[in-house]
Each structure stands twice: as structure tokens, then as C-alpha cells.
């Protein structure tokens, strides 16, 4: 489509779509709240050690290590440090930063406490990540008198119970609430009612919209859409054509529409994948060590799949070499499984495709993930292999026994022998 034609359509749509065309907020208007903890991991460490306050603090791999930082507090961010940055780069940008090692269990516990607090404010709470959640506050606001009073009550409860601060965004949809919570950080409260969405968010670049990644941004930029306002004013038919229903709904939501949230607040969110990554302390050339590490990772991933009652089918191996070249290869299994031995055999074969010991290329990081998750017994359209069923039953009994031992005596109590040399890696992180 020619640029001039696109512009003409945009202008035409701009005339047609006036702002504030949706119902103003009322007692039962759809209201979504997004709660986002401020620099969560770093804030917990500062809370537990007040001498860290007022200093640049990062949580992640130790100083001088090869890991990455998972959180930087706001002072460290002013030096350009951010989550995902390598420790080496962080050291270079801010040599005085205090590095605190990640304590996953501690943050998970505080996150669980946070979700319990939020459930006092709405029966529908959707944990979005370890430090973020959406609340469906529809019908709850009148209990507090106003949106402001509701938001402030949440912030007070978080502060009182956890001694941490949260930024809260309130809007007519999840996407608006999430943008709102990010507008006034830290310790902020942003309320965007449906009739003011376009005017408040209009000037923002489209990349600020959650879910608009580089690919969507590029596609919209090609249509001469750079800001939220331009998105709102764009012809719906054009957005529908280029982005499908998602594009149309996105424009409606950014215009302040209520009731178009394609994803309702879910009390329980299904996982899409289970995975585990590990950065070696020093680059590794030894194939046996890499195999051992991968087996241990397969066991961890499968244990979490069994615990959460999932079977998976799409196995991905991630491998990063010493020069930061990252390879990611995947294979789809014939059948769904949670058996670490089956998954490990695929991972080994994927490793052989991307890396050979004799080439002498050192490995920095390995990761294993399993996607295409289903629940056992869920229809999946593929005929089960009846010859495998008996073998699987025996294996399942074995792994259930192993899980029971680990539940009782800890994660390192028992495991496959070949995975033991590298069990409990120091710089590992899990994702789901």
C-alpha cells in the first residue's frame, strides 16, 4: 500500500473516531489494576539489609563473575545498569555497585505473600510474573469509595505487610493498567479512566504498549503508525488486515474501550514451557561435563513438569559459546513425555548437531526447555504408542518414588548418576 494512501486512511479514520466514545467509569465499569513491585529483588535485599540503601545495588551473579544481573535498584539504573546485563558490563559502568547474589527461594516466598495480600482486594488475581499481578477490580471500587482510595489501599497493604513499595496502574483494560503502572515509578499510582485513555497515552510511542515487540513495531511503523494516538486513529480494517483481530482489539483498548480485553483475568495461568539455563563458572571444552550438566538440567525440568502435572513435546537446546554466539535448536518428539532420559537423549542429539568437542569451541551457557505442554490425559490428536505404555508406567513409578525422596530429603538426595557431578549449579536460573 502506498504511503499516501495509508496517510489518507489514517486521516479519514481520525475524523471518524472521536475520543471518549466509550462509557465513562461507573460502579460496574470494567476496572483492571496492575501491581508492579519496584526493583523487586533489589528492594528485598535493601529491606533485609538497610545498609544497602542509598547505594547502587544489583542482584545477580557475584562481582567479577560471568553471570548476568537480574535486578538493579534505581540508583544503579541511573548508571545505565539493567536486568539482563552481564556482570562484566555492570562492573565497567558502575564499579562501586554492590553485588548481592540471587536468592530465588526468598523472592518466591515474598511473591507468594504478595499474591495473598492482593487477594484481599479482589477475588480475581492473576500473577503475571514473580513481581507483577493483575486484579479484576470490577465491582470492588465502591467498597473503597474511589479508584484512588482503592489503589492507595493496595499500596499501603503491600508496604505494611512486606515493607516494600509497589507501583499501581488502574485502567479499563489490562494493557492500559500495565502501561499506567510503569508511568510513575517507583511507588506511583496512576489512574487512567476509559474516557481519558487516548488523551493520556496518545503521545506515547507504540513500543510502550505491552505485547508490541520489535516485529509489530516495525509493521506498524511501515503503516506510518508511531504513537498510540496514531494507532487509535488508524482504520480498523487496516489493522485487522495487517495484525488480525489482535490489531483491532489493541486499537480499541488504547482508545479506552472496555469489555474488549481478549484475555480475562485468569486465576491460574497455564505454563507455556518449562526450562532451565546454566552459565558455567569458566568456559567448558569437555563434552562429558556438558553432557552431565544437560542431564541434570533435564532432570530439573522434568521434575517441575511432573510437579505441575505437565507433559511436553517440543525440546529446545540453547547453547552459547565463549564468543557469545547463541545456538538454539529444537526437535518435536513423537509423543508427549516428562521422562528426563527421553528428553536428555534428544538434547544430546541436538548438541551433536551444533557443537563438536574436537572443534575446540568453548561453551559458556547451556539451556534446556520443553514446550508444547499438555495435561496428562488431555486429548492431543496423536495416537498413543501402546507398546510404550507399559514401559512408561514402570518409569513413572520410578520417577514418582524419586520425587517422593526429593520432597522429603531435598533436591540433591537422589538422581541419575551421570548428572551428579554438576548437580545444584551455582549460576542457574529457571523459567517457565
Amino acid at each position: 500500500m502506498m504511503r499516501a494512501e495509508v496517510r489518507e486512511r489514517l486521516e479519514s479514520a481520525s475524523r471518524k473516531h472521536s475520543r471518549g466514545q466509550f462509557e465513562p467509569n461507573h460502579r460496574n465499569a470494567k476496572t483492571v489494576v496492575h501491581v508492579d513491585m519496584d526493583a523487586f529483588f533489589a528492594a528485598i535485599e535493601e529491606r533485609d539489609n538497610p545498609s544497602l540503601r542509598g547505594k547502587p545495588v544489583v542482584v545477580g551473579g557475584p562481582k567479577g563473575s560471568r553471570g548476568v544481573i537480574t535486578t538493579a535498584n534505581y540508583i544503579a539504573r541511573s548508571y545505565g545498569l539493567h536486568a539482563g546485563m552481564s556482570v562484566t558490563m555492570a562492573d565497567r559502568l558502575c564499579p562501586d555497585a554492590i553485588h548481592v547474589s540471587t536468592k530465588g527461594g526468598k523472592y518466591t516466598w515474598v511473591s507468594l505473600e504478595l499474591m495473598e495480600i492482593l487477594r484481599q482486594f479482589s477475588p480475581e488475581v492473576e500473577p503475571y510474573s514473580i513481581d507483577e499481578a493483575f486484579l479484576n477490580a470490577t465491582g470492588c471500587i465502591h467498597l473503597y469509595g474511589s479508584l484512588k482510595a482503592y489503589g492507595e489501599a493496595i499500596k499501603r497493604a503491600v508496604k505494611r505487610n512486606l515493607n516494600l513499595t509497589a507501583s499501581v496502574g488502574i485502567g479499563p483494560s489490562k494493557v492500559v493498567a500495565k502501561i499506567g503502572s510503569g508511568l510513575n515509578k517507583p511507588d506511583g499510582l496512576t489512574i487512567i479512566e476509559s474516557h481519558e485513555v487516548a488523551s493520556r497515552l496518545g503521545p506515547l510511542p507504540i513500543k510502550k504498549i505491552p505485547g508490541v515487540g520489535p516485529a509489530t513495531e516495525k509493521l506498524l511503523n511501515a503503516l506510518d503508525i508511531h504513537t498510540v494516538q496514531q494507532l487509535v486513529d488508524a482504520p480498523r480494517s487496516l489493522l485487522q488486515m495487517k495484525l488480525g483481530k489482535y490489531g483491532n482489539d489493541l486499537a480499541l483498548k488504547m482508545a479506552g474501550a472496555t469489555g474488549v480485553d481478549d484475555v480475562a483475568i485468569e486465576r491460574h495461568v497455564e505454563d507455556k514451557s518449562k526450562g532451565h539455563e546454566h552459565t558455567f563458572h569458566a568456559d567448558v571444552h569437555d563434552k562429558t561435563r556438558i553432557h552431565s550438566q544437560l542431564l541434570a538440567q533435564c532432570e530439573r525440568v522434568c521434575r517441575r513438569m511432573r510437579r505441575d502435572n505437565y507433559l511436553g513435546r517440543r525440546v529446545t537446546l540453547k547453547l552459547r559459546t565463549h564468543d557469545f554466539t547463541t545456538h538454539s535448536h529444537q526437535r518435536v518428539l513423537k509423543d508427549w513425555t516428562d521422562d528426563p532420559v527421553e528428553i536428555y537423549s534428544v538434547v544430546r542429539s541436538l548438541l551433536d548437531d551444533v557443537w563438536r568437542e574436537e572443534d575446540g569451541i568453548a561453551v559458556r551457557l547451556v539451556g534446556v526447555s520443553v514446550a508444547g505442554l499438555i495435561r496428562p490425559g488431555e486429548p492431543h490428536g496423536v495416537q498413543d504408542d501402546i507398546f510404550q505404555i507399559k514401559r512408561r508406567t514402570i518409569r513413572n513409578d520410578l520417577f514418582n518414588a524419586v520425587d517422593s525422596l526429593r520432597d522429603r530429603f531435598g533436591e540433591n538426595a537422589v538422581g541419575l548418576a551421570a548428572g551428579f557431578p554438576t548437580r545444584r549449579p551455582a549460576h542457574s536460573h529457571i523459567h517457565s
Binding site: 529491606r47 533485609d48 545498609s51 554492590i98 527461594g105 516466598w109 515493607n163 526429593r406 522429603r408 531435598g410
Partner: protein, 84 residues
């Protein structure tokens, strides 16, 4: 500021009330420390054993991490952050 792992068993007086544990004072190496402030608390599990962790401060700026083992019902001074 530096962290030191300790791992010493300690004697501790705590108030167990309303499902919460509130540590009040502890004895470590023949000296009694009165807890002035609990900075934060969290829980970890190892098998069926649950550990309750407390970050506390006494009269000085140092931070003490105390751990209660629900299996042995004993207290440990896990580590100290020495400030200054």
C-alpha cells in the same frame, strides 16, 4: 560492608503469636543481643524441613540473619553483614 557466613547454633527467645514468629533476643558466643528491628523474613524448604529466616538488627548497624529449623526446632545464626 562485608558478609560473613557463620552457621553457629544460638539460643534465642521468640514470641510465637498469630501464626507468626517474632524473635526478641539471642545469645551468641556468650553475649546477648537484643533485637531492635526485624527487617524482613522469608521461608525456604529443604525436603520436608522448613526453615524460617529473619533479617534482624540489634543496637548497632550490623545485620544478622537468623534461621529457625522447624525439624530440629533449633536456631542458627546463618550469617552477619558487618557494616562500616
Amino acid at each position: 560492608m562485608r558478609y560473613e557466613d557463620i552457621g553457629d547454633r544460638i539460643e534465642l527467645i521468640a514470641l510465637f503469636r498469630d501464626g507468626r514468629i517474632n524473635p526478641l533476643k539471642f545469645r551468641w558466643r556468650e553475649r546477648v543481643y537484643r533485637i531492635q528491628r526485624v527487617n524482613g523474613e522469608w521461608v525456604s524448604d529443604q525436603g520436608q524441613t522448613r526453615f524460617y529466616h529473619f533479617s534482624v538488627m540489634t543496637t548497632g548497624p550490623d545485620v544478622y540473619e537468623l534461621t529457625y529449623n522447624s525439624d530440629t526446632r533449633g536456631w542458627t545464626l546463618s550469617r552477619v553483614c558487618l557494616v562500616g
